[in-house]
Symmetry: C2
Subunit: 259 residues, 2 copies
């Protein structure tokens, strides 16, 4: 059983299982499963490279990028999804700087994204999630780039909790909002956001921080791992099959059909 929200995990597990099912003995099973997993790894690398280049071309005039959670080398087999676009801009010697929302509760933005970018020599500024709205309203951001755990047939997008808020704040402040992800994260079996199951995570992720208790005993915690951003808030999807634009029902179906 794979994480319910992340459709590409389920897809990869099924592919490896299907390959392994052709085996007639244990040694062949291991060989076939490993070969399929390596093929997926190579395809993931190629998909990351394709998304990065499509995003670089799309965002040629936008240099100050706000991103959420981690979507880079630590999260994928390749350059990443949203962060892959950043790497592609840097590799092309285009100006690029990143505002990374820290992404509570698990702080992937502060811990992972900022770490990746500092190591890559790309300017990065961390903000508390509460400050992202002020940054957008203050004109500090040219575009918002996020990844995706699962995209429904109509373009509704499940991604790390907080993504929906950024999408609303981007729209209100007329900043384009891009979702970057491979076609393997698109799930035609989910018609819309209501069909996507959102995983609830342990209360301790919110009520404790670095081993210290921050919320009192007796307080409840509501800790959904993901939220769903309505397709209407998405400017475009940057995928390994190119940039998909509204109306998304059609552009997503066409991209999936051409696979």
């Amino acid at each position: 059983v794979a994480r319910p929200t992340a459709v590409n995990l389920r897809w990869a597990v099924r592919r490896v299982a299907a390959a392994a099912a052709r085996a007639t003995d244990a040694a062949e099973l291991r060989r076939l499963a490993l070969a399929e997993a390596m093929a997926i790894l190579e395809e993931d690398r190629a998909a990351c490279a394709a998304m990065a280049e499509a995003g670089r071309a799309e965002l040629a005039d936008r240099h100050r990028l706000l991103t959420h959670c981690n979507t880079g080398r630590l999260a994928t087999a390749g350059l990443g999804t949203a962060l892959g676009v950043v790497y592609a801009k840097a590799a092309a010697s285009e100006p690029v700087q990143v505002l990374a929302s820290e992404t509570r509760p698990l702080l992937q933005g502060a811990r992972l994204t900022a770490w990746e970018l500092v190591n890559a020599g790309i300017p990065v500024t961390v903000v508390a999630d509460t400050a992202a709205g002020a940054a957008l309203a203050g004109g500090l951001v040219d575009a918002v780039l996020v990844g995706c755990d699962r995209v429904a047939a109509n373009g509704d997008t499940a991604n790390k909790i907080g993504t929906y808020s950024l999408a609303v704040l981007a729209r209100v402040n007329r900043v384009p909002f891009y979702v970057v992800g491979p076609l393997s994260s698109f799930d035609p079996e989910a018609a819309g956001g209501a069909d996507i199951e959102v995983e609830q995570r342990p209360a301790a992720e919110v009520s404790t921080l670095g081993g210290q208790t921050v919320a009192p005993e007796g307080a409840g915690v509501w800790n959904p791992a993901f939220d769903v951003t309505p397709a209407a808030l998405v400017t475009a999807f940057i995928t390994d099959a190119g940039v998909l634009r509204p109306p998304f029902e059609q552009s997503i179906a066409a991209a999936l059909a051409s696979r």
Copy 2:
């Protein structure tokens, strides 16, 4: 010099200084300053009680309240501002439950607001700031109540960073958004939000957590203490002079003139 954003601090310091200026010797100076400070304390208690009752009446049909930062007994001399409304509802045996956004970077929601409410026996659920949007979109909130550090003549409101995002998310999801604060926090010298200076806070508030470093060395931090919520996103102001409704320029001026 008082914190620049919080106009009521400046106002209180000026009042005490003006009272003390009438003294002719050091002993009288101490006596006059203390008497004026005690008078302000009593007025603050009475203002909190008036706001709490005005808010209780206004929110008679709304029980699931989202609040931000701390605005209760720990933040004022009395019941509080936004949280005072919650206490008044509970004291009147009306149903009330609170969703407290944890309020990074300093976690006043998780640490202080949740602590106050648990101690008062009022149901409280803590959410990461990233989850507030999903709660609003999911229909879990009947009204948003926040405090204010400074309100301009046109109703633009400076308050704890993250307030603006909640105001936008409330509006998009058709949830009323109330600002609760005494008239001493209204500053007719500031025509609008652009006239309110926003304090920047140390980077370490974001880059460290409980003594542990979470963001890498080499990453920048942008850490404004407050943001400004445009008056157009405010449903009404709940003040010690009653509920002020749009158009705010007129209702605020009338309330201040009647003092």
